[in-house]
């Protein structure tokens, strides 16, 4: 701070300030300190980002415009040829379609289920921590173990699920021959692993919703479902967006489950469940050993994720805003309810006034036997019933 007070008055008197310009080194250091320190303090983030974010991204871009063999190393500059090659390969497009299909089959039920589970866990439960930890267990199971277990369930000839279908007289499903069935099976593994994880994140958000809102909602006469739709969902909007975005990124990058769905790990003989990342892996480390093309795939995938992420973001924001609208609707209704309550209260007061003046003292036991007007009396009773 001494530095500051020194330098500022120094600057303030305009040009005739030349002599004191000869500042000492320590003073200059001090000035640098002021100017640079903030940047230094936040630099770890930027260095880290440059190291693990920007550099790989840019280097991948560099690789993608070169011929680059896994073993042979860097070759000639080829411009966008790698991108053109990849886009011309039908397998690439098939892998994109597979990725979307598996993503849709996993993300949608997964989020729906996660929200439901979170809402249930948000209630006052006995041994709440136990249940909350319980939903996280699948996430802790190693993907390899998941694939071993589900591999047995989804085996075509001797699988448990097909055996059970046989018991109820249904035809076995060709989990590895039917394209949609294979996507369903893989999505099941994904859901098994990630639902609990997302549920916990959503639960954390739900716990942060002020309880007064629920009390207010209860007073307004909202049931459980209504509270969930009109209070919980709008309140956890930011977290929902976060979960949807991470689920999107994860869904676009799905690899483990698809890779382990059969022994060859190439998405089946017709590439029926080859996802884009699996395709990338095959191009780079499989038979093509072509890092250039693989880098091109990586960039295409990156752009795709950004695109889908943006679409998702707008959609979820829209949905969440829709929820907000609904909350204004309910506010309107609240006003209406309050207004009606006021009217009722007035009427009740009026009725009470009549009562008190009419049949005042008799303890109120058999209150108003032949009591005067019927209408206010009925509303009074109604009011009381509502209060209870």
């Amino acid at each position: 701070m001494a530095v500051l007070t020194h330098s500022r008055p120094g600057k303030a008197p305009p040009p005739a300030e030349q002599p004191p310009r000869r500042v000492g080194f320590s003073q200059r250091l001090g000035r640098w300190d002021v100017k640079l320190s903030p940047y230094l303090y936040i630099s770890p983030f930027f260095l880290f980002f440059a190291l693990v974010g920007a550099f790989p991204l840019l280097y991948t871009a560099y690789v993608s415009v070169h011929e680059w063999n896994l073993l042979g190393g860097q070759g000639e500059f080829v411009g966008l040829e790698n991108f053109a090659d990849v886009l011309a390969q039908p397998v690439f497009w098939k892998s994109v379609a597979n990725t979307f299909s598996i993503f849709a089959l996993s993300a949608i039920p997964q989020l729906a289920l996660a929200v439901t589970i979170a809402a249930l866990l948000d209630q006052n439960l006995r041994a709440a921590t136990f249940w909350r930890m319980g939903v996280l267990v699948p996430y802790v199971v190693a993907p390899v173990a998941v694939s071993v277990i589900f591999g047995r369930l989804f085996a075509d000839q001797y699988g448990l699920i097909n055996a059970m279908l046989g018991v109820v007289g249904l035809d076995p499903v060709g989990w590895h021959s039917d394209r949609f069935a294979s996507h369903l099976a893989i999505a099941t593994m994904v859901n098994f692993r990630w639902t609990g994880y997302n549920a916990l994140i959503l639960l954390a958000a739900m716990q942060a919703v002020p309880r007064e809102l629920y009390e207010a909602a209860v007073i307004d006469g909202a049931g459980r479902v209504r509270q969930f739709v009109s209070v919980t969902i709008p309140q956890i909007r930011a977290t929902m967006v976060f979960v949807v975005i991470t689920a999107t990124i994860g869904g676009m990058q799905i690899f483990d489950e698809a890779r382990m769905f059969d022994h060859l790990g190439m998405g089946g003989p017709s590439r029926n469940w080859m996802t884009t990342v699996l395709y990338l892996y095959d191009v780079a480390w499989g038979n093509q050993k072509n890092f250039g093309r693989a880098a091109a795939v990586a960039w295409l995938l990156f752009l795709l994720i950004v695109l889908i992420g943006l679409i998702n973001f707008f959609l979820t924001t829209r949905i969440a805003t829709g929820g907000g609208d609904r909350s204004t609707v309910s506010r309107k209704r609240t006003n209406a309810v309050i207004a009606r309550a006021r009217v009722d209260a007035q009427a009740a007061r009026a009725a009470a006034g009549v009562n008190r003046s009419g049949t005042a003292p008799p303890g109120g036991a058999a209150a108003p036997p032949g009591a005067p007007p019927s209408a206010p009396h009925r509303t009074g009773q109604h009011d009381r019933g509502e209060h209870r």
């Binding site: 390899v144 590895h176 038979n287």
Partner: protein
């Protein structure tokens, strides 16, 4: 890959995925074993040996080498599958050789792609070692200009493993000698093998063999130059490759047309389960396959090995150990590699892990010749596989594109036999399409 010796196949795919990361991580972590022993002045060096599955190298064995070579410490690194080892190796080569072990094991099927870069490996040619291995084994690892990139460890001579009890139930002769005779003895052909199969399935609920794909693999391994021209090393146009197409059609006609196949893909849970469900009666059986069968068929009696193989001898699998040129102690590593592949050590390894040695002396040794396998009803496996190894006339030419083209056809076989998505002709057309997409022509 069906062509890889995957002992823990269910984990194979998984591990490959995981290992990509591990391999990358290991780049940083184990970057120094080559250099950690110092510059060699003191004589204290550490040699690392990277293998996969089970090579049969034990700590006791390595201790012996250390005793004979004071100042040398040997460390064994074992990947669980050959696929994992392959990924690890190629990734580290791509990273400039940093972090490679002093000795790297390589499987025969992914050797050709590495043979394109002979400079990555130390030349191990040594006149003193001539005549140690089967000739074709040495040829596989020898470049055109005479550099030897690896020493042979084991080979995979193929026999037929079969279910004695199912044979008997179907009214067929079931003793190993009788079965060998039934399948055609020394003149066994694939046609005679399929013929017996037709007879078998007519009177049994079980299929004749596990799947068309391993059968196809065995048949292709008997062609001289299946997918590539041995002279020019150029890939052959698959659309015009009648040799491969004939084999493809023959195996699928038998598998699907005559319903000889159980329609299983090897190393899948279905395949595993079929061992316990009497799914099939015979299978193509390289020496190392006896391990996986026993692992899956535990509690099932009646497995045996017949000293016969359709179409003559055949080899499936087998490995080499190489010395990456980037290592700090290539001379010492070469010495260790020679020691590990010496007949005594390979004989011991066969006893430990069932890897059939590629060394002539080891094959002829008492220990190997008299080995029996209790699970296979005390079949004299040493004698049988030695005989099967002798029957191997030569091995097919496999160039750098073998893996890619083979996969295209293999996928076609799976589409017909396992998933039933396409018929024989349509699937072949798809294979040609996949081949064209490789852009090799």
């Amino acid at each position: 890959m069906p062509s890889t010796r995957t002992r823990l196949p269910r984990l194979a795919a998984a591990a490959t995925g995981a290992l990509t990361l591990t391999a990358l991580a290991a780049c940083g972590g184990t970057g120094d074993p080559a250099g950690s022993g110092g510059s060699g002045e003191s004589g204290d060096i550490t040699l690392t040996v990277a293998t996969f599955n089970q090579f049969g190298y034990t700590d006791e064995m390595l201790d012996r080498f250390e005793e004979e070579h004071p100042g040398v410490t040997v460390e064994l690194i074992t990947a669980d599958t050959s696929e994992a080892a392959r990924t690890n190796l190629t990734t580290k080569i791509a990273a400039g050789g940093e972090g490679l072990a002093d000795i790297e094991a390589i499987e025969v099927d992914w050797l050709p792609e590495l043979m394109q870069y002979p400079d990555l490996f130390a030349d191990l040619s040594d006149p003193e070692l001539e005549g140690r291995w089967l000739d074709w084994k040495v040829d596989q690892a020898t470049t055109a200009d005479g550099r030897v990139l690896g020493y042979g460890t084991d080979v995979g001579p193929e026999a037929i493993c079969y279910r004695q009890d199912l044979f008997a139930d179907a009214g067929l002769p079931s003793e190993p000698e009788e079965v060998a005779e039934l399948l055609g003895g020394a003149d066994a052909t694939w046609e005679s093998y399929f013929e017996v199969g037709r007879e078998f399935v007519a009177s049994s609920d079980a299929a004749w063999f596990d799947g068309a794909q391993p059968t196809y693999q065995a048949m292709v391994n008997q062609l001289d130059a299946p997918y590539e021209d041995a002279g020019s090393e150029e890939p052959l146009d698959l659309a015009a490759n009648s040799g491969v197409q004939d084999v493809y059609t023959q195996v699928l006609d038998a598998a699907v047309g005559d319903e000889l196949s159980a329609g299983l893909q090897q190393w899948t849970p279905d395949w595993d389960a079929a061992f316990q469900n009497d799914g099939f009666a015979t299978m193509v059986c390289p020496a190392w396959m006896t391990g996986p069968i026993e692992e899956r068929a535990g509690g099932v009696d009646g497995w045996n090995v017949a000293d016969v193989f359709p179409g003559g001898g055949g080899n499936w699998g087998g490995s080499f150990i190489t010395v990456p040129a980037s290592g700090a102690h290539t001379d010492e590593a070469a010495e260790l590699a020679a020691w590990l592949t010496a007949p005594e050590q390979q004989t011991e390894a066969f006893g430990n892990a069932g890897t059939f040695p590629s060394q002539l002396e080891a094959q002829a040794s008492e220990d190997v010749q008299t080995a029996t396998n209790a699970f296979f009803n005390d079949a004299p496996v040493g004698e049988i596989f030695a005989a099967r190894a002798e029957a191997i006339a030569g091995v097919p030419y496999k160039g750098p594109n073998y893996f890619a083209i083979h996969q295209a056809v293999q996928d076609a076989v799976l589409r017909v036999d396992v998933t039933g998505e396409q018929d024989v002709d349509a699937s072949w057309a798809s294979a040609v399409e996949a081949f064209n997409a490789l852009g090799l022509m």
